[in-house]
Amino acid sequence: MASLNLLPLAIDLVLALTLLWLAWRALSSPDLFRAVVLFIALGLVLGLVWVRLDAVDIALAEIALGAGVTGALLLAALAKLQSAEAETADASTEQEGDWQGCSQALAEPDAKSKPTLTASATMDATGSAMPIALRILLALLLLVPLAGLGWVVWQLWLPAPGLTDLVAARLEASGVAHPVTAVLLNFRGYDTLLELAVLLLALLGVWSLSSAPHLGDEEQEPALAALSRLLAPLMILVAAYLVWVGAHAPGGAFQAGSVLGAAGVLLRLSGWRVPPRATGWPLRLVLVLGVVVFACMGLVVMAFGQPLLGYPPGWAKPALLAIELAATLSIGAILAALFIGGRP
């Protein structure tokens, strides 16, 4: 039996070490493109870790949002920085026959003066502003919080009172059968409402930066167009499924929203545009719909003598469903808009 218990532990150890190794590589790689790819890999491994921790909701979110959306955002940002770089660098850089070569130029901020540089020189320019001695000192200093936090975690080892039982006891009244969704939308719905606001805020922030460039209009790839025609409806279907399944199993508005956002991005990449008529208030309406519906639901119940965001038992289920649908739509639109960047 002992060996059987050790195997999962060994897997977990390997996973944990992989996490740390990937993180280290992602943060120290001299090549930015590689760093981003390693970071995405880190997100995927984290997804596995979440599965190992029985947190399937988080695993889904991690892969869809943490690795997927963040990764896509990072890559898009990199591409935009790169294209800006290519303009300034006079595009005369010798291209190596290597897919890493292209990212080298953007890893090198001083490309204007020094168009070609070896990886080690790149490291100096982009790496750290700190002298090595200071870095070592910092690393040594950081051993203190490392050890301290580790020790505290060790102290937390004994199970403490959580809220598992309380959630289970009130699950019935929450309107959904899946505990995480119940917490997210009902017990701590106030947080989720504000979290939606944060997401919208990020988009407002991005749009307020006037100089943020649009995603470039690349030439059409027929294969991509074909794939997106195939995938887009499917993704919408998947998103709907995720919303629906969220009521009793892992899934929900955020995961669904990110799938929807991905669909939007894909459509956009394959040449589809939001019709100009709809880029004004109709688009904005879609963007704010989630927060508006959520907030109004929360306020409307007050008129019926309920507390803020307190849904009467019978009404909880439809209310939450409406909120989730609106939220999914908004999240999808916001994520796609974030990826595309620039103002409509």
């Binding site: 977990d12 740390l20 502003a129 995480v180 944060v198 943020a212």
Partner: protein, 103 residues
Amino acid sequence: MTSVLVFALAGVGLIVLGFYALLVQRHLLRKVLAFNVISSGIFLLLAGLARRAPGAEPDPVPQAMVLTGIVVAVAATALALAMIQALRAATGRTWLGDDGDEE
């Protein structure tokens, strides 16, 4: 559940690693990566320890919090990336400059 401890400790490692990189790295994109690594470490700590009670269901409350946290981190990342691009467009730099007058 020893593996919970392993992951929680890995989370601590990620936090410290990310913090180090946030201070040491100059390129803003790397700082964004570092911030995301820190967040992931905290999430591991927060939701990882929710699995402590052996055999029982994991505590859904920290899980929901982590979900919220992930969304917030995505939002922050998006804003940071857009700001990097704007800074790049305005100054040609992808790292933080001194605070002197640049106009």
